[in-house]
Each structure stands twice: as structure tokens, then as C-alpha cells.
Amino acid sequence: MAASILAVDDSASMRQMVSFTLKGAGYDVVEASDGVEALNIAKTRAVNLVITDVNMPNMDGISLIKELRALPGYRFTPLLMLTTESGVDKKQQGKAAGATGWIVKPFNPDQLLKTVSKVIS
């Protein structure tokens, strides 16, 4: 069964790019446009990896990560943040919330795939 990934970003073009890239590599991808949507999806189905942007309306990425870690099924799931290069404190905050790691924006599809293949075996 293909590994499934939850991609969360309020920017439709980013979601599309991430989704397209990952699907092309054989992953199953679910999209959400903010933390609230993502949390609802996560509660109804299990995914192998969550990739989330940080700045989103309704619930930002760091709060999402914190909420996900509190779900029993997501205590060890890799959760990755999409962050900009200057966001050092964001990385710290993310880690404090339980993030696994981060991908630096802007990134190209190959970097995305490489990172993803590392966390999902």
C-alpha cells in the first residue's frame, strides 16, 4: 500500500506543486488549506507523514503540530514544517511543539522528494 502524506498550506499553488510532485513519486496525498482542516482530516484517517506550512489562517502550522502530537495515532508520525530560511525561532517553536524537522522554502521538487523519502522508508 502506498504511503500517504497530508500536505497543508494556505497557498493553492504550493499545495498543487507539493501534491503533484509527491503523487508522481507514488505517494498518496491528501490536502488541507489550514490547520483546522488538517486536524479534522488527521482525526478521520491515518497518514504516514504530515508536511505543513507555518503561516496559515484559522490554525497555524505550529499549533497544528502540537495538536497532532496529542492524538494517539500521531505520537511518532513524522511531522515536517515548511519554513523560510530566516525563521530560526520558528524552527525552535516547531521543535518545541513536537515537529520532526523542516524543509526550507523555497524548495524544488527534488529536494522535497529527497527529504520525504528519508522520513518515510
Partner: protein
């Protein structure tokens, strides 16, 4: 795998332009006194998205420019920088430049480099002022900076000691992955230390107790190893020790535990100070005007793609359309069947079927019209910015109130009403609202109000522009009218009629033609544009109190409720909306008035009679005596008159066909329609007819009376 990113570009551009609108509206609404944190956040997010997306999709110039805006906004939302009017204005101007850059990127062109550089400098200047750089130095980057000493000799490999903290697994990281990645760098020998492992009873399966010593026999760069540990440096202890060739002493290990890393980061040099540039010279007024005009490329209704105009439609509307077409098909086949074998006893069913046909067709017609209807907010949306910029430039304090933005109007109206409205709002701001000190002196509040509203009233859309300014200078307008020979001194004109004068071409009582308005080319064009939409415009004003401009537009542009009349052998359609009443006039009600010609008395007014046969050059009208025909009293633009015609034929809805597109522009005629019997009827343009009658010349146009 190479992916063509271009397929995501269109979506990126669409969402970026939407983001720009969010930013602009947010910035316009920002009141430096009361900052709404959510508002700032949404402005920040919009900039952040544009920056991220443009970087990802390769529009680096956009990304760099947006980055500076984002930095400014970030400081504002964190409270590290106060929100000043100046900063807001700089950001607004930056939004304009960004819009230009994105448009250029979308069209494959180049933005104005000078302007970009200029604005970039402006942003940098604002950032440099009152810049409070606290918090960790930017670009601290990941922590594994080699704080220790490098050995002089190149290592042949590395010894890595890796001890995950107990909670590591709960970050979603997996030690095995780390080891696997290290293994990808080269030959790896692994020794596991299980000394920390507790007895099974005490074992917490979610905790990590193991640690490893790994020997990597590969002269890779230390950075490659550090990168693997990047995510987990706080969640483990690890040491990376160079392995030297045989015979060398190993130097002090370069460690990189969390605390060391923090120390290194603090010692990193602070971010380079931003260059403080001299503030740019004051912008010239005309420059701004040009920029403002360039800024808004008209975008019809929905989001148009690269070519052709398009519209976004609610799928619900489409669905109900499909349903109706379905009904129509059923009715049609039923009638078809009836027609196949018709006999008189089926007449009732035929009638019923035809009735259904009429109903379904009408419903379909209404629904299709609905599709082209868009909320007028598409046109209104430019006004907050316009009023803001204009009032700033003129040094006036003006508040814009808008209502009825949800009122739906036809797409063509949206496209064509914009320019006239801009002209009218500019007039209110420029000539209507007084300078703050003048207002206070007149006992008015310092801040003037301009109100823009739209609503459905009767069968029309009514748009009103109201201001509480100084109103129209009635006497000055009258003087000018007399000067120009438009009005005779003796004529006793009502205020409304006097105000109508400003719609004459070249009419302007503004003392100086300001850059903004007052060149006098405006109002007649405004009226013509509105007439072309089948509408009318009126002004009402009270000196010292303010003015109200009322624009009436028909709800549907292509269909008209009309009264058919005949003159001679010709049939004409008079728009029902212009008809006040139709009467039979007796000879004794007629009166000849100097300067007005034939008039008749209607209640307490004397209205001129317009003999349609004379205006349209019809040679043999049926009725020449006033009693033999009918007088249709019509009104347009504040003046009334009676159209003398042979007979009234009936009222019906007609489909307007453009005469201009198919033949040419004819004064007094606004379009044509095809009647039930296939013949062509011309639709009268009442204001045009009135003008024609005043000029006392019959319409001289070849082939005026047309035969289909």
C-alpha cells in the same frame, strides 16, 4: 524527475493577485490608533505566501522585493515596530509595484526596473528607521558551525558518537533513519551500546535507551554529517570526531551539542546593517496620477485569463439552467407530437403547451441573464484606494462609505460604469468636499463624507453618489450657461434644469483646471456612457450642504419593456420606463409659446409637443390634427415632452439588437428589434429625440425609414 512548474503558474498568479487585494484592503483599513492583530496577520500572510510561491516558482525578483515587505510586516505584527501612516503609505505603494511585477511576470514582460529599485529603496529606508533588531541574529542558520578547531590534516573518516535522548522517538525521528543516512555517505561500521537498556519490566517502549558509535570510513565533508543531524541536534548528544590517517594524533574533537551551538550562534556577527538611504524627493502630483491610472488595468468582472474575458459563475446557477433547458426540451417534444397529428379537439392541449413554452422560455431567459450578473463590488472595490490617495494628495479629510456592494448587475454594466463613477467620485472629492479648515469654518465636521450606494429599485439599478460638500454653484452655472448661449436670460429654469447644464460638452465652472478633474471633458461623456447603458443620470444639490448624483440603469440590458407606437406606416418602440402617461390632447389644450413652439397643458406645466413625423421625416402620418393622434408624455433627464404619434399599438418585451453594430449610430434611435411578424421596429432614444426636436432639424440620415 523533472517536473514542469509552469503548470502551477496560473494558480500562483491568481492567488497572488488576490493576496495583493487582501493586502491593499487591509492596509487601507488600518487605523494606526487601533491595530487589529488578525488584520495585520492576514496582510503578513498574504505577503509571505507571495514571497514563498514566487521563490518556489522561480520569480526571484518578486521574491526578493516581497521579502522586504514581509520583513516590515513581520516587525509590525510582532509589535516590534509601530504602525505609522508613513509605513502604511510606503507599503501601499509597494503593493502597486508588486502588482506591476507580477503582471509583468505573468505576461512574460519586464517591470519598470527604475520603479522597482526606487520602491525597494523606500522600503529599506523605512526598515532602517526605528529598526529594533532584537531577538536572535538573523541567518543564525543551523547550529553546527565548527566552533572548535579543525585539524590541519585532512581526516580519512569520522567517528560519530550518537546518543539519542529518551524522547527522541516522540519527535517522529527514527535513529535508524539517521544511521541509514550516514550509511549512504560511505562505509559504516556500527557499534551499539546497550548499557542503558533497563530490564524488560521497566522498559518504556516509547523511549530511547540505545546509543551508537559509528565509524564512517569515507572522507566526506563534515557538513554532510552535520546536515543529517540537523533536525535532532537538540534531541540527542552527538559528537563528530575526525579520524586521521595512521600515525597522527587526533586533535580536539569538534563537538556540536546544543549548548555549544547556541554559544556559537550568539557570537555570530549581527546581520549587516541596512544601508540608510536619503529619503527620495517629494513625489510630483502628476507622477502620482499617471501611476494611479496605470495601476488599475481594467479587469472585467471575473478573473480573465491571458486572452478573452471570462466570468466566474456559481455552479448552482448553471445547474438550474440545465434543469430549465431540460424542461424546455420536454415541452418542445410534447408540442411536436401534438403538431404531428393535430385535430381541433386537441386545441386546449395546444394552448396549454404553448403556455408552458412561454413560461419555460421566460424562466430560461431570466436565468441566463442571472449568469452575467455580478456583484457591483467588482466596480466599487477600487474606490477606497482612490478616495484615500486623492484626499491625501489634496490635503482633505474624506471618509468613503459604501453600501449595496452585493447588488448584482450585468457584466457589461460592471465594465462600463467604472470610468463614469470614477469621474463622479473624483468630482465629489475635488470640487465637492471642502478643505478641512473651510468645513470647520462652515460648522461642518472636519472629515467630509462621500457615500457610494447601489440598490435595486423598481425594475432598475440605482447608484447614488452623495457628498456633504459645498454643493453646486447654481448661479455660476446659470451664468456660464447664458454665456454659452445654452440658456436665454429670461428663461425661468428650475434648479434641476440648471444643474443639467453641466452635462453639456466643454462645460466646467472650475476656476482652475486641476490635474485631477475639471477639464470639462467629463460630464457629457459620463452621461453618454450611461445613456449607452440604457440608463439616466440626474444631479441634485443644495448649496453649502452637498450634492447627490443619481444614476439609474436598467436591470437587463438586452431586453426592454416597450410601448409600440406607429407613425405613418412605421412602428417604433418607446421604452416603457420613460413614459409617464399617454393622453389624447384636444385642440383647446394647445398653446403656442414663444421659444417652445407648440405646447399643451398637463396639470400645471406646459410641455412641448414633439411631432414624431417631423423628427423622423415620415412623410405621411395618419394623424395631423392633434385630436386624431395620441400624445405620449415622456421624461428624460429632468425634462418632459409629449410625443405626438398616430396610435398606440401595445406593450411588449422586446429584445434589443444593436443598431450601431449592424448599421451605424443614429441620433434618436437606441436600437432595433424584430417583431413577432418579422418586421423591424426601431427603438427610440428619448433624450436623443428631445435633443433632435429642440434643434428643429429632422433627422437627416440616408435610408432613414427602413424596410426590412
Amino acid at each position: 524527475m523533472s517536473i514542469d512548474m509552469a503548470q502551477f503558474h496560473q494558480v500562483f498568479f491568481e492567488e497572488s493577485f488576490e493576496g495583493l487585494d487582501v493586502m491593499e484592503n487591509g492596509l487601507l483599513n488600518m487605523d494606526p490608533g487601533e491595530i487589529d492583530p488578525e488584520e495585520i496577520n492576514s496582510i503578513f500572510r498574504a505577503a509571505h505566501s507571495i514571497k514563498g510561491g514566487s521563490g518556489t516558482f522561480g520569480f526571484t525578483n518578486v521574491s526578493e522585493f516581497t521579502h522586504v515587505m514581509e520583513t516590515l510586516l513581520d516587525e509590525m505584527r510582532d509589535g516590534r515596530r509601530p504602525v505609522t501612516g508613513e509605513a502604511v503609505n510606503v507599503l501601499l505603494a509597494s503593493v502597486d509595484v508588486l502588482r506591476e511585477m507580477l503582471t509583468a511576470a505573468q505576461d512574460g514582460g519586464e517591470p519598470d526596473e527604475e520603479r522597482v529599485k526606487e520602491q525597494h529603496a523606500e522600503l529599506t529606508r523605512v526598515l532602517a528607521n526605528a529598526d529594533a533588531p532584537d531577538g536572535p541574529a538573523a541567518d543564525a542558520g543551523h547550529a553546527a558551525v565548527a566552533g572548535g578547531e579543525f585539524t590541519q590534516v585532512e581526516p580519512v573518516g569520522w567517528k560519530i558518537v550518537f546518543r539519542p535522548h529518551q524522547h527522541l522517538l516522540r519527535t517522529g525521528n527514527d535513529p535508524l533513519r539517521i544511521i541509514r543516512e550516514l550509511g549512504e555517505l560511505g562505509e559504516l561500521a556500527v557499534i551499539c551500546d546497550t548499557s542503558e537498556l533497563p530490564p524488560l519490566n521497566d522498559l518504556e517502549p516509547e523511549d530511547s535507551y540505545l546509543s551508537w558509535e559509528l565509524h564512517l570510513n569515507e572522507p566526506v565533508a563534515k557538513e554532510e554529517i552535520d546536515e543529517i543531524f540537523e533536525w535532532i541536534e537538540d534531541d540527542c548528544d552527538f559528537a563528530v570526531i575526525p579520524l586521521l590517517p595512521e600515525g597522527y594524533e587526533s586533535a580536539t574533537p569538534t563537538t556540536a551539542t546544543a549548548e555549544q551551538a547556541a554559544v556559537v550562534a550568539d557570537e555570530a556577527p549581527p546581520a549587516p546593517a541596512l544601508k540608510v538611504l536619503d529619503p527620495p524627493p517629494e513625489r510630483r502630483v502628476s507622477e502620482d496620477r499617471r501611476k494611479e491610472d496605470e495601476r488599475r488595468k481594467p479587469s472585467p468582472g471575473g478573473k480573465s485569463g491571458a486572452g478573452g474575458s471570462s466570468i466566474r459563475v456559481d455552479t448552482g446557477k448553471i445547474d438550474s439552467l440545465i434543469n430549465m433547458v431540460g424542461e424546455l426540451v420536454i415541452t418542445q417534444s410534447m408540442l411536436g407530437m401534438l403538431g404531428e397529428e393535430f385535430s381541433m379537439d386537441k386545441l386546449a392541449r395546444l394552448r396549454e403547451g404553448l403556455g408552458q413554452l412561454e413560461r419555460h422560455t421566460r424562466e430560461l431567459q431570466e436565468s441566463v441573464m442571472q449568469i452575467r450578473m455580478l456583484p457591483i463590488s467588482f466596480t466599487f472595490s477600487r474606490f477606497p484606494r482612490l478616495v484615500h490617495d486623492l484626499s491625501n494628495k489634496l490635503g482633505k479629510k474624506i471618509e468613503l462609505e459604501m453600501s449595496g456592494e452585493n447588488t448584482e448587475v450585468d457584466k457589461t454594466v460592471i465594465e462600463k460604469i467604472g470610468d463614469p463613477l470614477v469621474h463622479l467620485v473624483r468630482n465629489s472629492v475635488d470640487h465637492g468636499i471642502e478643505m478641512p479648515h473651510e468645513r470647520v469654518a462652515a460648522g461642518k465636521p472636519e472629515t467630509g463624507t462621500v457615500r457610494l450606494s447601489a440598490e435595486h429599485r423598481g425594475g432598475n439599478i440605482v447608484i447614488e453618489i452623495t457628498d456633504d460638500g459645498k454643493g453646486l454653484a447654481r448661479d455660476r452655472i446659470l451664468q456660464k450657461g447664458i454665456q454659452r448661449g445654452l440658456v436665454r436670460e429670461e428663461e425661468n429654469l428650475s434648479d434641476k434644469q440648471i444643474f443639467e447644464l453641466i452635462f453639456q460638452p466643454g462645460f466646467s465652472t472650475a476656476e482652475q483646471v486641476s490635474d485631477v478633474s475639471g477639464r470639462g471633458v467629463g460630464m457629457d461623456v459620463v452621461r453618454r456612457n450611461i445613456n449607452e447603458l440604457g440608463g439616466s443620470i440626474e444631479i441634485d444639490s443644495e448649496q453649502g450642504r452637498g450634492s447627490t448624483i443619481t444614476i439609474r440603469l436598467p436591470l437587463t440590458l438586452a431586453i426592454l419593456d416597450g410601448q409600440s407606437i406607429c407613425v405613418g406606416g412605421e412602428i417604433y418602440i418607446v421604452p416603457l420606463a420613460s413614459i409617464i402617461e399617454s393622453i389624447q390632447v384636444r385642440k383647446d389644450m394647445l398653446r403656442r409659446v414663444a421659444g417652445k413652439g407648440e405646447t399643451f397643458k398637463l396639470r400645471d406645466e406646459y410641455l412641448p409637443i414633439v411631432r414624431m413625423n417631423e423628427v423622423f421625416g415620415i412623410e405621411e402620418p395618419k394623424a395631423t390634427e392633434i385630436e386624431d393622434g395620441i400624445v405620449v408624455v415622456v421624461e428624460a433627464g429632468g425634462s418632459k415632452c409629449g410625443l405626438f404619434v398616430d396610435d398606440l399599438l401595445g406593450q411588449q418585451q422586446v429584445v434589443i439588437k444593436s443598431l450601431e453594430a449592424n448599421f451605424g449610430r443614429v441620433e434618436g434611435i437606441s436600437g432595433a428589434t424584430i417583431l413577432g411578424d418579422g418586421s423591424v421596429a426601431l427603438i427610440m432614444d428619448i433624450p436623443g429625440v428631445i435633443r433632435l426636436s429642440r434643434s428643429n432639424a429632422p433627422v437627416s440620415h440616408p435610408e432613414m425609414s427602413m424596410t426590412a
